[in-house]
């Protein structure tokens, strides 16, 4: 059993991993439930969990998006007519909703490249025999494991109009101040989220870096390459897979942003400049009892994320 086999097993398409799976019977036996029917029993609790607490609510959400739907007290019957695409029209026709999708694009444009660059840089710096390596690693994922609720208070205080950051910046401070400035609100949130999530992505890159074969570095330094050239020619291509994973995860997290706009800008910020689609889903669905429109926004969002993920997959393959 060599390293190559292990790599092969894990890099192969997960669906086809069955080819390497142990089989007690000869291959030409046909099985109705598959070679290991007990697998169905093993996976049953999880499958049931997904079916009841994910598939059913998702199905209901999609159903709601095509009907005039409100939730009522138990036993109260009201008409819930099919309305086709009306909810989608209402949602996408609402200025606030359109603005929120634009906000998420702004967020992604700032957050994703920043995340990729910073986490790769810091992971490269961490990837050697360093004194205090554990300390640094811990420092970077402390924000990741801390609740946003806990950390937001400090940030609000720091970035307040009369907070520490503005006092240090003096006349360079933007006016109006960060979180109430319709140009700076979303970038401020992007900065906060990047800071908070970076630890996780640094770990992903660290792992990938350790799998770049040492021989490549050795041979390129024999050839006289500088550190920067090595970085460009060896490191970056070597962690290609990690980069696509980091990008994908950052996009998904960014698109589903809720906690930070909710806590940092109390429901949308100046002029809705920092509202996110999920925040609006919360407002429509829970505060205004219009879950049908909320579901329409959600479906559009999920489709958007799937499209982005699909594009990224294509770029990755090519």
């Amino acid at each position: 059993m060599t390293t190559a086999d292990v790599t092969a097993a894990t890099t192969a398409d997960p669906m086809a991993a069955g080819a390497g799976v142990d089989d007690p019977l000869p291959r030409n036996h046909r099985r109705i439930f598959g070679r290991h029917p007990i697998g169905m029993l093993f996976v049953a609790p999880y499958a049931l969990f997904i079916a009841v607490l994910f598939a059913y609510p998702l199905g209901l959400a999609v159903y709601m998006s095509f009907h005039r739907y409100i939730f009522t007290a138990p036993g109260v019957g009201i008409a819930r007519p099919f309305v086709g695409l009306q909810n989608y029209r209402d949602a996408l026709g609402d200025d606030a909703v359109r603005r929120s999708f634009l906000n998420i694009l702004i967020f992604l444009v700032i957050n994703v490249p920043l995340t990729v660059v910073l986490s790769l840089a810091l992971a490269s710096a961490l990837n050697s025999k360093l004194r205090g390596r554990s300390f640094f690693r811990t420092a970077y994922y402390v924000p990741y494991v801390t609740a946003s609720v806990a950390v937001v208070g400090v940030w609000l205080f720091l970035f307040n109009g009369s907070g520490l950051v503005n006092r240090v910046l003096g006349s360079l401070a933007p006016s109006p101040s960060w979180l109430i400035n319709s140009h700076w609100a979303m970038p401020s949130i992007a900065g906060f989220v990047t800071w908070k999530q970076l630890g996780f992505f640094i770990l992903l890159y660290l792992a990938a870096l350790q799998n770049v074969p040492k021989e490549l570095y050795e041979s390129s330094s024999v050839d006289g390459a500088t550190a920067w050239q090595q970085f460009r020619a060896v490191t970056i291509p070597g962690v290609r897979h990690a980069t696509s994973l980091v990008t994908l995860l950052a996009v998904i997290t960014g698109a589903n942003l809720f906690t930070e706009p909710y806590l940092l800008t109390g429901g949308g910020g100046p002029n809705g400049a920092s509202a996110s689609p999920v925040l609006l889903m919360y407002q429509f669905g829970i505060e205004q009892n219009r879950p049908d429109v909320a579901a329409a926004i959600g479906v559009v969002l999920v489709l958007g994320v799937l499209v982005l993920a699909g594009i990224q997959r294509l770029l990755d393959r090519g």
Binding site: F33, A73, V76, N160, G266, P270
Partner: protein, 426 residues
């Protein structure tokens, strides 16, 4: 077995698990005359909690077979969501002593409320206790789905020490007309007595406009609600006046545009606040405050302002409604209203408050000012979709008044039109 069949089986299992329901709807006819233990909720304001505990204890002592149990719920921007979620799940209590009048139309629409008229003498009890004020709380179908309980007439609080520091008279401040108010505010800020003159919350929750806009609109318009006869009313001289006043305040930097965590008036960051008597408890020991009515454009005194009322409603999951009704009457009796006034300083919505509790007001003359306004308070209109209407208003306010984007008059006109359309749709 094909994947489709696997899907089907999982779907069947899932639907079996999702179809059954443990929480069943209540049989209204049976519940109407039934007696037994009940649950009530009240806000988590410490003084109200104290009163709530006392009321529950007195009732339980006298009615051992129909015990009440009290529970506090979080207030603030989340309380409507909390109550609505409970109504949908069927887990709300019999009575909630923190029902916002703005939510009543939507709770009613989803079948969550019990009409109080069905109890013998129900309507009369409400009308007798609250007098003409009760009319504002009747639903479009003519019934009462809420009992008007208490109000917090909104007034201007000012910080006497900061006013003195600014060179203003702390006992007779000039705050009656818009011009006077603006001059006073500018004085406070330019002498650096305080960073801001006044600091209403600038955030976009649907209810924030009740304090800055609606209280002054009520005063200026002589008691007109936001919506009258199915049409928005604020696109008139009074509404424009109030909106332009506030736009000036924000433009001159006299009020803060950022959400402040905490209370800016209590912290001395703002020299004034526009709020009701419930806030007095949080100023105790921190600010020496004085009171003034909200300004009107020419300084003419008005006996109208926003009510900031919270009412009591009976909810559909209540199985012992006869007991709940008796408890409701018990907790809003003259005696209990007096105890409430004593504990919290908030005004019971009862006619003749000033005379009935004269001894209390003799000992607490500041509260008498609030009591005098209590008869003229204006409520949010009881129309379907009111939360959405107020959210639409607030979003437009935020854009044009706070962040000076677009002309105030044009925005008001456009918003009135959108709200009219929302009313028609419902």
């Amino acid at each position: 077995m094909r994947p489709a069949t696997a899907l089907l089986i999982t779907a069947l299992a899932a639907s079996a698990l999702t179809a059954c329901s443990i929480v069943k709807p209540v049989d209204a006819t049976k519940a109407r005359a039934s007696r037994g233990p009940i649950a009530i909720w009240y806000s988590n304001n410490p003084q109200e909690v104290q009163w709530g505990n006392q009321v529950v204890k007195s009732w339980n002592a006298a009615h051992p077979g129909e015990k009440a149990s009290g529970q506090q719920i979080p207030t603030g921007k989340t309380s409507e969501a909390v109550i609505q979620a409970s109504v949908i799940a069927g887990t709300e209590p019999c009575l909630i002593y923190n029902t916002s009048p703005a939510s009543v139309p939507s709770f009613q629409a989803i079948g969550g409320l019990v009409a109080l008229d069905q109890f013998p003498g129900g309507r009369q009890y409400i009308e007798q206790r609250s007098g003409s004020q009760a009319d504002q709380y009747r639903s479009p179908d003519g019934k009462f789905y809420q009992l008007p309980w208490k109000s917090n007439p909104v007034m201007i609080f000012y910080n006497k020490k900061l006013f003195t520091k600014a060179g203003l008279d702390p006992n007779h401040p000039k705050l009656a007309s818009y011009a006077d108010f603006l001059a006073t505010a500018k004085r406070v800020v330019s002498t650096h007595a305080a960073r801001f003159a006044i600091y209403p919350a600038p955030s976009s929750e649907f209810f924030q406009s009740w304090y800055d806009f609606y209280s002054m609109y009520a005063a200026q318009s002589g008691g007109v609600q936001l919506i009258k006869n199915g049409k928005a009313t604020f696109d008139d001289a009074a509404g424009r006046g109030v909106a332009n006043f506030w736009r000036q305040i924000y433009a001159d930097g006299l009020a803060g545009k950022e959400t402040y965590s905490g209370d800016p008036f209590a912290d001395g960051v703002a020299a004034m606040a526009i709020v009701g008597p419930w806030a007095i408890a949080s100023y105790q020991g921190k600010v020496g405050w004085g009171l003034a009515p909200v300004p009107t454009s020419n300084g003419q005194p008005s006996n109208h302002t926003f009510s900031d009322a919270k009412n009591v409603a009976m909810y559909a999951s209540c199985t012992h409604r006869e007991t709940a009704w008796d408890f409701l009457k018990f907790s809003t009796s003259q005696d209990q209203d007096g105890k409430f006034l004593q504990a919290t300083g908030q005004m019971p919505m009862r006619t003749g408050v000033v005379t009935t509790y004269a001894s209390y007001f003799a000992k607490n003359p500041a509260y008498k000012t609030f009591a005098k306004l209590a008869d003229g308070v204006v409520e949010v209109p009881n129309v379907p979709g009111s939360v959405r209407i107020w959210q639409t208003f607030r979003d437009a306010w935020s854009k044009s008044v706070i962040f000076a984007d677009g002309s105030v008059d044009a925005t008001l006109a456009a918003t009135a039109q959108s709200i009219d359309q929302l009313l028609v749709k419902k």
